[in-house]
Symmetry: C2
Subunit: 258 residues, 2 copies
DNA sequence: CGTTAGTTTGACGCGATTCAACCTTCGTGG
DNA sequence: CCACGAAGGTTGAATCGCGTCAAACTAACG
């Protein structure tokens, strides 16, 4: 069962602020406001559902710690994982007035979230334009990630698809300081990877092993690495642009709205 | 080449306003403002590219007439169509400060667009909260469509996938009055359908024929119909929720922000 | 030490791609 | 008016990537 956490006492800035600050120039007031948004915290256990397809769903989750997935189950009983949410990621950011969830959300690990009322996000848009730009940028980034998954699912063979996904996770985790140049801790089972990639478990396993044999990927008790990153990026047709932090845009965004 | 259209003289409300009005309650001032956003119009010919992957891309397009596609080309030379934009749809709504396009956009038909500067969208968020809610709802809807494509690509066999897509287009076109209960005019070739569905042209063709033989779909010189809609919806595992107009939410959105 | 969750491997069959050909429609120009 | 080429649709046959079935293996945990 979900546990409600009483108060926000963490001294460190949240992962989300860290990411926002990489995108737009926030002043102290904005940082404070954004941290206050995260007062209402809820924790979940590994495997627990935050949201079930069809539920009433009018709030927005911000992941603070741990990994989560968005997924759907087809009539035929297949599960398709639509996205992986890492610390600092929003789930249902603009869902605002969608009465019912059109997907489910589950915790891949122990998970700590902040639950944010949509009305407070309206405040952001009306009072804190720079912060709002940051949120918009986050949606764009999510959209880019989903688009890239579309390309993978529709137009890339299994091994490229899997390697591309691993590279994506690596990039995203580095942006929040949860991975370094050597690799990262993968919090997914092969079954979860296969449901993300639209492949069977068996085929996923065989291609993971093939990638390791060919030196494009390493996996040792949950730690994923890339022996020769340049070669992996080339092989997977990976384009880092879609995850870039848009450093230049910090200037643009702040110029536009001050 | 793209042609610039001098002035906005259309008496009728744009398709976009029509769609927005189905979602949120707009007052006259908001409608006027939104129509004025669309003054800067550009037309394209069938097959022409509006945006090429890698281009500078800081504006936002609103489709007024015709169909367009967003797509990417993989290193291996395969094209994946990421989305189809119909009248009233935005392309790059929140792209704001993304310096370069991470995808291409092409006109499927003769196309009339309005080009909107991101700075004017900021105005919307600051001065017209109800309009802004409407825009957010449009992004959510786009996100839902893309998610559903993900499910199709990852977890549905060819014939379901194709039929699902046809049903999606039917629903979206009805929402803007460009389709009725009998069907719609499909402005895509089978090659374009196959690139959207992540299938080969040959396999797409065979499955289209199969769907027709089985009475799940009809196609007569470009007009797509569904002899028995309920059966098609059942077969394709189609869930209309993700395209709903959220009539209830009109109340919510306006209550929130007045 | 047994149980459960997760990984690994082989064998077989189906669904999707590829190659190749032919057909229809339509616009264009001799 | 017909000849032609281009674009799009249709179909069969061979091949291959991926899914399914089945079974064994490993690690973590009580």
């Amino acid at each position: 069962m979900a546990t409600t956490i009483k108060s926000a006492t963490s001294a460190a800035m949240s992962a989300a602020v860290h990411r926002l600050a990489n995108t737009v120039l926030l002043n102290e007031e904005e940082v404070d406001f954004f941290e206050q948004l995260q007062i209402n915290r809820v924790a979940y256990q590994r495997g627990e559902d935050l949201v079930v397809d069809g539920d009433d769903f009018r709030v927005c989750f911000l992941v603070r710690r741990g990994w989560a997935i968005k997924y759907k189950i087809t009539k035929a009983g297949r599960r398709q994982i639509i996205g992986v949410a890492l610390p600092g990621d929003f789930i249902g950011l603009h869902i605002n007035f969608q009465r019912r969830a059109s997907y489910s959300v589950a915790a891949l690990t122990e998970l700590e979230t902040a639950v944010i009322e949509p009305i407070r996000l309206l405040e952001v848009y009306q009072k804190y334009p720079v912060l709002a730009s940051g949120l918009d940028w986050m949606s764009v980034r999510n959209f880019n990630i989903l688009s890239e998954h579309n390309v993978s699912l529709g137009a890339r063979p299994a091994s490229q698809r899997i390697l591309h996904f691993m590279l994506e996770l690596w990039c995203r985790l580095r942006a929040i300081g949860e991975a370094d140049k050597d690799g990262f801790k993968l919090m997914m089972t092969q079954e979860q990877i296969s449901d993300t990639m639209g492949l069977s478990l068996v085929h996923t396993n065989k291609n993971l092993r093939k990638l390791q044999r060919e030196g494009l990927l390493s996996m040792n008790n949950g730690i994923v690495g890339f022996p020769d990153p340049a070669r992996s990026i080339e092989y997977a047709d990976f384009d880092e642009r879609f995850l870039e932090n848009f450093q230049e845009s910090r200037l643009v965004a702040s110029a536009l709205s001050r």
